[in-house]
Amino acid sequence: MKPSLRRIPLSREISFAVIAYLYLPVIVLAAYSFNANRTATVWTEFSFNWYLRILHNPSIQAAALNSLIVATAATVASTIIGLLAAVGTQKRFKGRSTLEGLINSPLILPEIVVAVATLILFVSVGIGVGLLSITIAHIAFCIPFAYLPIKARLAEMDKHYNEAALDLYANRFDAFRLITLPLLWPGILSGATLAFVISLDDFITSFFLSGPGATTLPVYIFSSIKAGITPEVNAISTVMVLVSIVLVALSFAINRIGKPIRR
């Protein structure tokens, strides 16, 4: 073995640069959120001031509450729908791949196109814009994020568990409730967490469907940025990034429950 060959020239240096490229901006953003100086070009001293300010900013609080409501509702709905779909597409049947294509279509279609199309729909049928519209639209693109981890979990699961339950006089519903569902929990939680993060962070769809009084946090952040950079935005952005990272790490950790450790 010549381990030196495994190292492609420059690849390590480029990789470190890429990692810096991926993470430095967010770290800079977080650093600025602790800067006491409002102009933010010069570092004066460390301060929690901007975090305290967001606690007392009613528009941020309202937007945050809206975001949580939307994300929670969209997560619950999309997880249930995704779970049912994952169970229904477990076995091969004619047209299954078309169905899966439909379920995963929000992952491929440009969000702005689907967002404006949804706007046209809601306006033309009279639902209009607002929190309800945002929530409904979020359900659609959260479904694949809930569906995929659950489906992966189901695919790994020994199909004999379900058969054994049926064999032991459980009807289909009981077999699902008592055997499949408990074994599927990590996948469901993981999918739900991902759906929650995606909904929480969504900007484009929420932007087109937001109306007066129905602003989510990302929409608030966007309009604040357009109005001029403020340290409060840095603080609330840092919080959001942190929440996303924690939730995603949690989702990955949950999904490893009950799985054999890889070699």
Partner: protein, 358 residues
């Protein structure tokens, strides 16, 4: 063995896939299995044993034919309405339930009173000597222990039929031998019909009341172990179970005429004169004698010879070129060895020769 039927499979066919990809897996299979019988399905890989079990359990639907369990047609009954339980090859113990909860699952689903569930689950665990580990999870058990729990789980609801798909194949040899004996005892004790699938002929011969030998989606022969071994009805069955010599011959004057010109005395009454037949001879039913011995039926040259402890095994090339396997017991002392390269005579009693249609 009782005489009432528990499982009656009538003309069942099953194929998987559609159109050009369709594969016929079972072809007009019929078999009747009696109450309290230990019935074994034996056959090469892919011949349809598992599929037949899955049809009986209700995991798959038959394409054609009928399945009766205790006199009732169950074609349209889902698995949970059939009084049949399965021991899966992979055991399929529910990983999130304890041993006790696994054993109690079927009883719970039958909505029995709580007390009875507990008592009968414990009884079943007792029967397989797993009571001590009742609170463990399946992942904390060894392979043999998981196997026992799977048995207890399937036995606890006292089904009419227990289906066992290669339940012992994951165990090592020693444990397997132990479990074979236990399985037989359990079956006697529980008084349940067992339908057992195995690859292991010795296991099949030793445990079963009757064996069904399958090949390519068809049941070739059903019979007691001794019938299957001593009186195979097809070349396939003869070949598949144990070692056997098959010699080509022609019926001639109430005897069999070998290619080498030897006339061999045997029962050819079932075959028309001058039809082609195969003579099936088990290696242990033939004797080596001097070539000149008048009792010799045919002759050959010793190609190879091995001392195996309990037996001497010879490979003999017959005059027409066919290889012939011959096993002499050493029970009466090792006796004399025939030398490699020497010409010998082979003697087979007429009743030890099975004449099969080609």
């Amino acid at each position: 063995m009782g005489t009432a039927l528990t499982v009656d499979v009538r003309g069942v066919s099953k194929s998987f896939g559609h159109g050009r990809n369709a594969v016929q897996v079972l072809n007009d299979v019929s078999v009747k299995i009696a109450e309290r019988e230990f019935f074994t399905l034996l056959g090469p890989s892919g011949c349809g044993k598992t599929t037949l079990l899955r049809l009986i359990a209700g995991f798959e639907d038959v394409d054609r034919g009928d399945i009766f369990i205790a006199g009732q047609r169950v074609n349209d009954q889902p698995p949970f309405r059939r009084n049949v339980n399965t021991v899966f090859q992979s055991y399929a113990l529910f990983p999130h339930l304890t041993v006790q909860q696994n054993a109690a699952f079927g009883l719970r689903m039958k909505d029995l009173p709580r007390e009875e569930i507990k008592r009968r689950a414990n009884e079943a665990l007792e029967m397989v000597r797993m009571s001590a580990l009742a609170n463990r999870r399946p992942s904390e058990l060894s392979g043999g222990q998981q196997q026992r729990v799977a048995l207890a789980r399937a036995l606890a609801p006292r089904p009419q039929v227990l289906l066992l798909d290669e339940p012992l194949s994951a165990l090592d040899l020693k444990l397997r031998k132990e479990m074979q004996i236990e399985l037989k005892q359990l079956q006697n004790q529980a008084g349940i019909t067992f339908i057992f699938v195995t690859h292991d002929q010795e296991e099949a011969l030793g445990l079963s009341d009757r064996i069904g030998v399958m090949n390519d989606g068809v049941i070739m022969q059903v019979g007691k172990p001794i019938d299957i071994y001593e009186r195979p009805t097809h070349r396939f069955v003869a070949n598949f179970i144990g070692d056997i010599n098959l010699l080509e011959a022609k019926v001639s004057n109430g005897k069999a005429l070998l290619k080498s010109g030897h006339l061999v005395e045997c029962d050819v009454s079932a075959h028309s004169p001058s039809s082609s037949v195969s003579l099936a001879i088990r290696p242990e039913r033939a004797r080596i004698v001097k070539e000149t011995d008048t009792e010799a039926n045919f002759a050959g040259i010793v190609d190879h010879f091995a001392y195996m402890g309990t037996a001497l095994v010879y490979q003999i090339r017959l005059l027409e070129g066919t290889k012939f396997l011959l096993r002499e017991t050493t029970a009466n002392g090792a006796g004399q060895f025939a030398q490699v390269g020497s010409r010998v005579g082979i003697k087979v009693a007429p009743e030890a020769i099975r004449v099969l249609r080609d």
